[in-house]
Each structure stands twice: as structure tokens, then as C-alpha cells.
Symmetry: C2
């Protein structure tokens, strides 16, 4: 059991600024106060500790307070990805069996039809009564649930406990330290672990979060130049935009600015060198939803010397390469530590997540002789596009639902802007066009998952057991 | 289970300087390597994981490596106070039933006669074979044992687990952060929790420890002026010496120097003001052996506004005033958190340490309306002299062993240099002089515990139940 983070933080540094958004700001005391008002709304709606709600909201202070209120009451939060299609949302809501959906007033149209009670964000703002909060939290309690696909075609709801988030924030603190007037720029979605972990750091480390609803490269670049913030997380495409912007301005990042954590796939060498030239330190990380953010991080000092590496496991984390007996040997990357999820919910609740404490990530990699991790091949042919994970099986599953499709195989192609993009190979049952398939996909999938191209072929490459060999699909494009 | 701190740290920052002593220095990789050689010596001597050894050594790099070796093998360490008399050491060695005594070659004369095997430090230096280390540590495992007296007259061996030390280092990190090129000056004894906790921070936080065998005010002051270190812990008397030295030099502390943690009793107002004037930030702390160092800390910003306060509980710690229903009300200070000892060893092993997780410290204090802790009265008439705890009962017990003493009562008097000093009140059975009693005490007690004065009186103040009322002893001096 540990003390309620929000109350403890508000007690320690009440007047410190916790959050900024546009030109507004909130102290820790204010966030604590307002989240307690919000708790009363949850309680009035019959939501009690240990129950589960879904949250569907843009990255705004309102969302932060809603999340804080759920923490205060120790209610499990299913964080819905705003980019998902209605059928995808429907699946998650059903699988998670939530008691209520807390929804941004502006986004009501985005939800599928559901009988689940909905609480609009505006309702919370009317409360002026403090609800009763949970003063001590159990490390084992599930705090958040985020859906990710993995090897099956049905997304799995990953549990992240109080202890998981705490372990992640603590490892990060041991890794990067904490400077005076620390402030994180948050432009990544809060419904992803990258964004949510920043919210946790804000409370736990007592640092300011500069929240952006949308990625605003101009403002972010300005913050780096002026040194009004100290850290941020970014995927490659965001990083490139910042670099270009600062390069054009002829300026450099302030030495007050500490670090960009680069996640969601590898950062190209060219970006690292250009970042270095304008005074931006970049640390490549390796993490995933199942590990509540970072497991390993390459220090910025090693960024160029160990190009392509994701660094070393943080202080309390462990990494091993399954089956490898020496440096350089490839194998499945396995992760152990208190940041690793205890399991899934819903229909996947029975699937064990770890073996002897080790999470088998499905990613293939190796360690060099100095113990630096290199991720060679992503799990289950995972495609990473602009920081979003795309699982081929999920797209194939949708395509196979189309009456004209007999077989479908999806793989990645390199893309200058997004890193990777999915393309599809189709074996037809009857006549159909690429356009028709794209429209069909759009009805069932988040926009970023729709393949950039559809290739019609005679037969899919399969192994002896009939298993689709996605890696062989590339051969068809080269023809 | 968590990864072996030393190996994890050596893997993360192998080339970083971990320790300096006089003009020498050692990296984390070197300390890891050498401590593994030392492990082989322990193993050769038949000492195995889970067994208990006593350590009797000066604050030298050798001592650090010995301690690291014991950590590597997960051997319990009883850290012997170098100031104790032979009978006091004898008691601790017997109570702890140690398998061996690891002893500084220079200090062999200081040990009482014992049949316990002794391993001299010089023996360790000859090893060139790596021993087998424990790769994963259990949070519940006892790492250190330190004796403290408390309310009984027999000192109790307090267990501090891996998890206790980790929780303490983590709370401290959350509290003060970590700057670039962080380095702690260690002039306090490693056998006390104040020094040992710095060793833990060194490994866990990856910061340099500038170790001093003896308190050298000139060198320390110079480090503050030049900013070659960032933090230190000090008791009032040490702080005053640093301040005086810097004042005389006409200089100021470098802004690179971050903070002095002031422990072992309150820091006088005058010292705080003078420290402030020469650019030294001082944070008053409240901690004890049973809490593996700090529980609460007053931030340096609040140092003058909340004069006399020990601040607020650190991020994962809790403090309550037993029985108090409102701010300002006095009561027993109770502490909860993962830094609290799970219990004692030896003859006190059966005594429970916490009630519902709360350690009842015996100290009396109150919280103000903003939640700041004030320690009003130390536990069991505890006397704090130059940072060392002195328990009146222990001295009275020795005095009562003298054939001429019928009754004895010990209490504190204020002292400009040491903060407090003990004085004794004696009811004689037959003729005896102050000098004779002082000589007798010297045979049985550490030098700092010998009363500064002996007053001969007719009768001791006792309550109805016959219990000695030490607080009434002061009245006799005023006569």
C-alpha cells in the first residue's frame, strides 16, 4: 500500500504549477481539489472503487482531471484510442464490460451505439462537492487498460497496475534524474502509454506538464529554443518536424532543454545527427504497452556510438534474449521487472503474460558485447506507422470479411514520412477494386490502418502448415 | 525480486566515477569487479548467503568494498559503531550471533575477546578470483543491522532490509532530484544510517561519493566553495564548522552545490540564517535507524518560514500524530512506509515494531495547519549529542553496576558545541567521587556517553509507581 499520489503530491508542493494548456495553468493543489469535485460526479453516477470505466477524450485539462478523479476513486480506466473506427470501439467496450463511458462532449458522435451509460465531461465541471477519495492505493490494483493487438487478430486489453506505473516512473527518474523547474512537453496521446506515463511522472515527480491537444510543431520548437520546458517524448516523424523547424530558424535548442525520448520505433540516423547539430539530445527507447512505457533507453551520450540500439535496461528492469548464448546472437526479447503487466482483461484474461516473470515480447533482437539491446525485427510483423502500432492480422481479418476476398496478406513498406505503412495483397473470390476495399476498410478500421495499396495476386505465400508467410509478400512488389 | 544493484549500476554506467578518497578514485565497474573478488574471500571463509557478519571498520574505500561484497553475496551486516566500549561491542556481537567479524587491520585492538572468527580487511585485498554473486535480490532480505537503544536499557538490533534501503533512496530521489555530475560528500560514519544511506544512493542513483575518513572541515568547505560536490549530510556541529570556515574565507558556496541535509537533531536558527547568507541551502530532516534514514524533510525554501520544523513526509511516507485530532495538538509521532524496519534481531526479535503498519517512534511532536511536522520532545528522553543518540537508561544501567551507587538518573543539558550533553544524578550507597564514576563509565561506555557532570543528591524524583521522572532532574541543577 502506498499513499494516494495526487494527495501526497498536492501536500508536498501545493503551489507548484502542475499543468499548462494554451495560456492557462493549474497547480497541484488545484488539480487535487478539482479532481475531488469530479469524484463526487462519479460517485453520484453509482461508480465505485474497483469498477471499470472507458474514457474517450482529447488531450485537454478536462481529460487530465477526469483521469485524476478516476485515480482518486481507484476506478479502472479503459483509455480509448480516438483514432479507432466504431466497430473497433464497440469491440473494446464489450470486451472490457465497462460500467460507464466518460466522454468528451465534442466526441459523442464518434461512439458506436451502446447501452452503456455515458457521462459527458461537461457534467463533471458542475460539481462543487468533494467526493470521498481512496487515501491508500494498492500496488496490485489495475489503474489503466490499453488495447493492443499482438499475435492474435483480436486486440487484447492490457492491464497496467498502480505498481506498474509507479515502477515505470521510478525507473525513469533513476535514469534521467530531475532538474530544477523540470517540465515535460506532452504532444503524444494520453490514451497511449507514452502520454499516460507522462501524466504519472507529472504527479509522482512533481513536474509541470505542458499539454498540447494537437501536435503544434511551431510552439514545441519555440519551447525547445527558449528552454521553457526540459523534456518530451516523440516518435520519429514528430522529431523530424521539430528538427526541420529549428534548422530553418537558424537557432539551436536551449541548454535548459534536457532530452527527447524517442519511442515508437527506431529513429533514423540522419535525424539523430541533425538533432545533435542543433543541440537536441535524443535518447532512443524500447518500450510497449505491456511494460507501461520504457524498458530500455539509450543514453544520449551513446546515441551516435551505438546507433540503432535501444540502450540498456533501466535500473530495476531486466532484458534477456531468449535462447541466445552469446553476444550478437538473435532471439526473442524478454523483459522482466515491476513495470510488466500482470495480464489482460476480457476474453484474453486467461492468457498468461509472463513465464517465470519474463514477458516474451515477440520482438526479435540481440545484445552486443557491451550489453546494448538492438531490436532487429518487431513482433508478429508489427508495423509501426507514425508511432501507432498496426498489426497485419487485424487488417487481414477485416479484409477477409469482404465478400469478394478469398485471401489477404498485409505487410509493411518503408515510408519516408511515417516510417512504415501497411500494404495489402489480395486473392480475389470475385471482382473488386482497390477503391472498394479501401472504403470497406474505412468502415471497420482506424484510418491509419488502411493499407496504402492493394495488390491482387493469384496465391498467398504459405508454409507447409498453411501459415501465411508475410515476410515473403515483399517479393511480389519487386516483380 | 529486483536486480543486484551493484551489477545493474556497473552495467549502466561502468566508467562513471563512483567513489573518491583522498586523491584516489574508483569507477562503478571497478567497485563491482573488486567487490566480486572480495566475495570469494567470504565464500572461502565459509560464509554463505543469509548468514550474518559484523563489520568493524573506518570510513575507507576498503570498508565500501567489504560492504559491497556482503551485498553481492546477500550476507547480513551488523555495522559496529567504532565509538563503543568493549563491553558494548561484546553485547552486540553476542546478541547478533554473527558468523564472523570483518575487521579493519588497524582496529583489531578495539575488539573485545571473542571466539567468533575474524577476517581482517587486508585478507580481502589479496583475492584475484571472482566469487559467485546473487543476481537477484529479495526486498525482504535483511541487508544491515544497526543497534539503537530506545526505551529499554539494552540496545536493540534494528533490521534494515533491501526494500527498506531502496524505499529510502527512492523517496530521497523523488524529493531532491538528481543533477548532472551529482556527488555526495560523506563525512558521517558509514556505520550510522546517515552514512550507509549515502552508500546506497551512490549505487542506486549512480552518483559519486566523496568519502572522508575523518571530518575535514577545510576540505569540505573548499568543495562547497568550488562546487566540486553537490550534496552532503551534516549534524548541527559539523554544519556550524563549515559555515564558520566559509565565513572567515569571505567566500560563498558555489551555486553548483545543492543542499545540506541536516539530521541528528534540530539545526539552530542562527546556523540556518548564517548558512543562507553564504549561499548554502539546508534542509532539516527527521529520520532514525528504524526508518532507514529520512522520513520527512523540510525543503530549503521553507527553512526560515517554518523554522524548527522537520518538514513533510517524503513522497511515499506517511506521518501521523497519535491521538491528535487537530493541527497543533501534541502526540506520539507515528511513521508508515516501506522504509520502516520489519523488526529487531536477537533478544528483541519478538518485539513487534509496527501496529497496522505504523511505527510508534516514541518521539512527541505535532503538525501545524499546513501539515508541517514539529518534533517537540525526543523519545525516551533521548539525548542527541553531535548527531549520536544517547539513551539515559543505558548510562543509568552502567552506573547502577557500580558498588557505591544506589540510584542514578541521567538527563540532557544544552551545549553550544554538541547540541546536548548528558549529566548524571547519583544517590550514593557509600562514598564515591565524580572522577571515580567517570573512570568506571569509561570502561563500560563509548566516550561520548560519559556524563559531563555527576551531581550527588538525596533522592531521585519518581512518580507514584516508582518510575524515574527524568524531566524533573533539571530542577536539581537550578538549585
Amino acid at each position: 500500500m502506498i499513499p494516494n499520489w495526487i494527495e501526497q503530491r498536492a501536500g508536498l508542493t501545493p503551489k507548484r504549477v502542475a499543468l499548462t494548456f494554451n495560456k492557462q495553468q493549474w497547480t497541484f493543489e488545484e488539480l487535487s481539489q478539482q479532481s475531488k469535485y469530479y469524484v463526487q460526479v462519479l460517485t453520484d453516477a453509482g461508480i465505485t472503487t474497483g469498477q471499470r470505466v472507458a474514457i474517450y477524450g482529447k488531450s485537454t485539462p478536462q481529460l487530465v482531471k477526469i483521469i485524476f478523479a478516476c485515480m482518486q476513486l481507484q476506478v479502472e480506466m479503459v483509455l480509448l484510442n480516438l483514432r479507432l473506427s466504431k466497430p473497433e470501439l464497440q469491440y473494446q467496450l464489450e470486451d472490457a464490460a465497462v460500467h460507464a463511458i466518460l466522454i468528451d462532449d465534442d466526441l459523442v458522435e464518434g461512439l458506436p451505439n451502446t447501452t452503456t451509460p455515458q457521462l459527458k465531461f461537461s457534467l463533471f465541471e458542475q460539481s462543487v462537492t468533494e467526493g470521498t477519495v481512496i487515501q491508500r492505493w494498492n500496488r496490485e490494483t489495475t489503474m489503466t487498460i490499453m488495447y493492443t493487438s499482438g499475435t492474435t487478430n483480436l486486440p487484447k486489453g492490457v492491464r497496467q497496475t498502480v505498481g506498474n506505473h509507479l515502477a515505470s516512473a521510478t525507473s525513469s527518474l533513476y535514469n534521467t534524474g530531475l532538474v530544477e523547474d523540470e517540465a515535460w512537453i506532452c504532444t503524444v496521446p494520453i490514451f497511449h502509454i507514452s502520454g499516460f506515463s507522462m501524466l504519472c511522472k507529472c504527479i509522482l515527480h512533481g513536474v509541470r506538464l505542458d499539454l498540447y491537444e494537437k501536435y503544434d510543431v511551431e510552439s514545441v520548437a519555440q519551447q525547445l529554443i527558449e528552454g521553457t520546458a526540459t523534456r518530451m517524448s516523440a516518435v520519429a516523424i514528430m522529431l523530424e518536424k521539430i528538427i526541420s523547424h529549428i534548422e530553418k530558424s537558424g537557432k539551436k535548442a536551449s541548454p535548459r532543454f534536457q532530452l527527447i525520448l524517442g519511442g515508437g520505433g527506431p529513429i533514423p540516423e540522419d535525424y539523430l545527427k541533425r538533432a545533435h547539430a542543433i543541440g537536441i539530445r535524443v535518447a532512443q527507447t524500447y518500450g510497449m504497452t505491456e511494460t507501461s512505457s520504457q524498458t530500455a533507453t539509450l543514453s544520449s551520450e551513446d546515441a551516435l556510438r551505438k546507433l540503432g540500439s535501444a540502450g540498456k535496461a533501466l535500473m530495476f528492469n531486466e532484458i534477456k534474449i531468449d535462447g541466445a548464448t552469446q553476444a550478437g546472437e538473435h532471439g526473442e526479447i524478454c523483459v522482466r521487472g515491476e513495470h510488466v503487466t500482470p495480464g489482460y482483461i476480457g476474453r484474453h484474461a486467461h492468457i498468461p503474460t509472463t513465464v517465470d516473470g519474463w514477458l516474451h515480447t515477440g520482438d526479435i533482437g540481440y545484445m552486443d558485447e557491451e550489453g546494448y539491446l538492438y531490436v532487429a525485427d518487431r513482433r508478429s510483423d508489427l508495423i509501426i506507422s507514425g508511432g501507432e502500432n498496426i498489426y497485419p492480422a487485424e487488417i487481414e481479418n477485416v479484409l477477409l470479411g469482404h465478400p469478394a476476398v478469398l485471401g489477404a496478406g498485409v505487410c509493411a513498406v518503408a515510408n519516408d514520412v511515417w516510417g512504415q505503412r501497411p500494404i495489402a495483397f489480395i486473392v480475389k473470390k470475385k471482382d473488386v477494386t482497390s477503391e472498394e476495399l479501401a472504403v470497406y476498410c474505412k468502415e471497420h478500421l482506424a484510418k491509419y490502418k488502411i493499407p496504402d495499396a492493394f495488390y491482387f495476386i493469384e496465391e498467398l505465400p504459405r508454409n507447409g502448415a498453411g501459415k501465411l508467410m508475410r515476410r515473403k509478400l515483399h517479393a511480389y512488389i519487386e516483380i
